[in-house]
């Protein structure tokens, strides 16, 4: 490599070496202190008393119950928000109507409202001293401090994930292919099932994965509405905090480690999906090529 005069590097960057070193150092230090170290600590604490103790802590009935509750809430919220997200994205991407901007803003609302405020909102609405509480109570229905409240709060918090993911994808694809399906005799439902869905599947899966991660991990909104009755309305994140408060670090960190593993798995799948999606887009837009890939 020939270097002309001044001893500058041949690469695009003209910054002195020490500036680059400083920036890289800051980033590595930051990631280390705030991401890697805590994560490592979670696993270290979980395994502080060995595998047996960790696994044994999971068998506590209240912990088992918290798994059941979190699974139930997730099993309700993810499908509901998937259907809602697809419908909302379809509506926003395909139609012009009054209040469209409002709808998009509303979809984003859970991102901008603190989860605790969300929880308070539901308490205010469905609690015994709330607007609908007495009416519900008279009919022997309990929302707050019960599973329905937890489901509602989680639903609200996870509204944006699927819709937000799909709106740009569907807007970019346009509606020509769907219309082509209609001219070929397909009903709206057939066009959606055979044409739209296959073309948005990676984006959809991505949104579902994120939605799932949030549904499992939500703390603030759920903490407010659940009432935290041990073994009844404790979800996994709530149970973790309770165990920690009870000076049971092994059990708390074992549960936390499980959630962390779930998060890492989600990240892995997310990265893979992003890769697939980009590959898909590149193929859809790329020039002709004669590769055989099937």
């Amino acid at each position: 490599m020939s270097r002309a005069g001044g001893g500058k590097s041949g690469r695009g960057s003209e910054d002195p070496w020490w500036v680059r070193l400083l920036l890289v150092g800051v980033c590595v230090a930051f990631a280390g202190v705030f991401l890697v170290l805590p994560l490592a600590n979670v696993f270290a604490q979980a395994l502080a008393k060995g595998w047996q103790a960790s696994l044994g802590s999971l068998a506590h009935p209240d912990t088992v119950e918290s798994f059941r509750l979190t699974a139930l809430v997730t099993a309700i919220c993810v499908p509901v928000n998937t259907v809602f997200g697809v419908a909302a994205a379809w509506l926003v991407a395909r139609f012009e109507f009054r209040g469209k901007a409002l709808l998009v803003t509303w979809i984003d609302l859970p991102f901008s409202v603190s989860p605790v405020v969300t929880g308070m909102l539901f308490v205010l609405l469905f609690g015994l001293r709330g607007y609908l509480g007495p009416w519900l109570d008279a009919r022997d229905m309990q929302v707050i401090f019960a599973t329905p409240g937890i489901v509602l709060a989680t639903l609200f918090v996870t509204v944006p994930f699927v819709a937000r993911e799909l709106i740009p994808v569907m807007q970019a694809q346009g509606s020509d292919a769907e219309q082509a399906a209609l001219t070929l005799g397909a009903s709206g439902w057939q066009a959606f099932w055979h044409v739209t869905l296959p073309s948005i599947k990676w984006g959809l899966l991505y949104g579902v994965i994120l939605c799932n991660a949030r549904a499992v991990g939500e703390f603030g909104a759920v903490a407010v509405v659940s009432g935290r009755v041990a073994g009844v309305t404790d979800t996994v994140p709530l149970r973790i905090e309770k165990l920690d408060n009870e000076y049971n670090p092994v059990a708390a960190f074992t549960l936390a480690a499980l959630l962390a593993l779930l998060a890492l798995g989600t990240l892995g799948i997310k990265t893979w999906l992003e890769h697939r999606q980009h590959a898909g887009l590149a193929r859809a837009q790329g020039p002709m090529e004669s590769s055989d890939e099937h």
Partner: protein, 366 residues
């Protein structure tokens, strides 16, 4: 199958994209909807397909009103401008889509797909995906897909817009051949007058939502219904003259104007082919200098400038040009064999037309 539009309008809010349009396409015809972009021709095509609902008026297919028939049951084949192929499906699956929806038995489906692949020169490409095809191949797949369920009408939106010039010519020839073989009633949208002239048996000309003229290419070219058509279909020299003493005059150029009131303005148009040029400065009526010669292939375009500075465009064949022995800078004479009165004072004229009028510039695209 015949298609008929009766007083069809389409409004998007306050804008009339299509304004009381009526025309008829006969069974088996190949018709072009021609006009500048934004002229409403694509909207007309989409209304025939059922992809847009007309605000007013009736659309009839084989004499039956189809306004309330949904797109799925109109039995039309539609080819989109960007082809709109299903990118997650193979070529064969794309073509078979309509057959699958209409529940053709698998055996018939496969046979029909094979037949179309052969007919469209796509043999061996059935398992490819759209992104693995060239532009021309994609377009043929789109047409094959539209034709697979044997529609009674084929509609194409700017079918040659997205391919390069060489392939475009091949596709034109191919579309004409295909239409001759299948004789399915075909309507296509284009903004290219040359393309419309070459391919269509009849042309429907639109401008700003209104129908300007319907006719065979030759009729539209030789007998344009109005100035817009005259300008859009062919190249034209346009002169703005004023009537003095029974003749319309602009500098040296005069045209007879019997019965036109004194002092009135008159707009006259003539095609560059109607300008006869001679090397003898005294042979024809007007004298001019040959300013520029442009080589257009078989034709030469000449720019003549009169002593007063008017510029008139002429077109002659290369052979004629050689025979006359003309060269830039020569003093020549010319005459106008045929002309047409385009407009008189007080008659309305579209803004896009008048925008082309600059003082001293008397033709466009010539």
């Amino acid at each position: 199958m015949s298609i008929e539009l009766r007083d069809v309008s389409k409004r998007f809010g306050p804008v009339a994209a299509v304004d009381r349009v009526s025309f008829k396409v006969d069974d088996g015809e190949l018709v072009a909807l021609l006009g500048p972009s934004g002229g409403g021709k694509t909207t007309v095509l989409r209304m025939i397909a059922g992809l847009e609902d007309p605000t007013a008026g009736d659309i009839l297919v084989r004499g039956e009103r189809v306004n309330d028939v949904p797109v799925q049951r109109r039995n039309i084949g539609f080819v989109f401008q960007g082809y709109a192929l299903f990118k997650t499906m193979s070529v064969a699956d794309n073509i078979a889509f309509g057959l699958k929806i209409k529940k053709w038995p698998a055996g018939d489906r496969a046979a029909r797909v094979e037949e179309l692949l052969r007919l469209f020169g796509l043999e061996g490409l059935g398992r490819r995906f759209p992104h693995q095809l060239s532009g021309g191949q994609r377009q043929r797949v789109a047409i094959a897909r539209a034709l697979a369920p044997r529609p009674s009408v084929l509609l194409l939106d700017e079918p040659f817009g997205a391919v390069d010039a060489k392939i475009r010519q091949e596709l034109r020839d191919w579309l004409v051949r295909m239409h001759d073989e299948l004789s399915v009633t075909t309507v296509f949208v284009t903004h290219d007058q040359e393309e419309a002239m070459e391919v269509a048996s009849r042309i429907v000309i639109f401008s700003r939502g209104r129908l300007e003229q319907v006719g065979r290419p030759r009729v539209v070219y030789e007998e344009p219904a109005n100035e817009f058509v005259a300008r859009f279909i062919g190249v034209l020299n346009v002169l703005e003259l004023r009537v003095e003493g029974g003749v319309a005059r602009l500098d040296e150029l005069t045209f007879p104007a019997h019965g036109v009131p004194e002092g009135q303005g008159l707009r006259i148009g003539f095609r560059p082919y109607a300008v006869q040029v001679s090397r003898n400065p005294r042979e024809h009526r007007y004298r001019a200098t040959l300013r520029h010669v442009y080589f257009l292939g078989v034709l030469m375009r000449l720019e003549l400038e009169t002593p007063s500075g008017l510029v008139v465009r002429s077109r002659i064949t290369k052979d004629e040009f050689t025979r006359l022995g003309l060269a830039e800078g020569d003093v020549v004479s010319f005459q106008v064999r045929e002309y047409r009165v385009l407009a008189r004072d007080g008659e309305p004229l579209g803004p896009e037309v008048s925008a082309m009028h600059h003082a001293g510039t008397l033709g466009e695209g010539i």
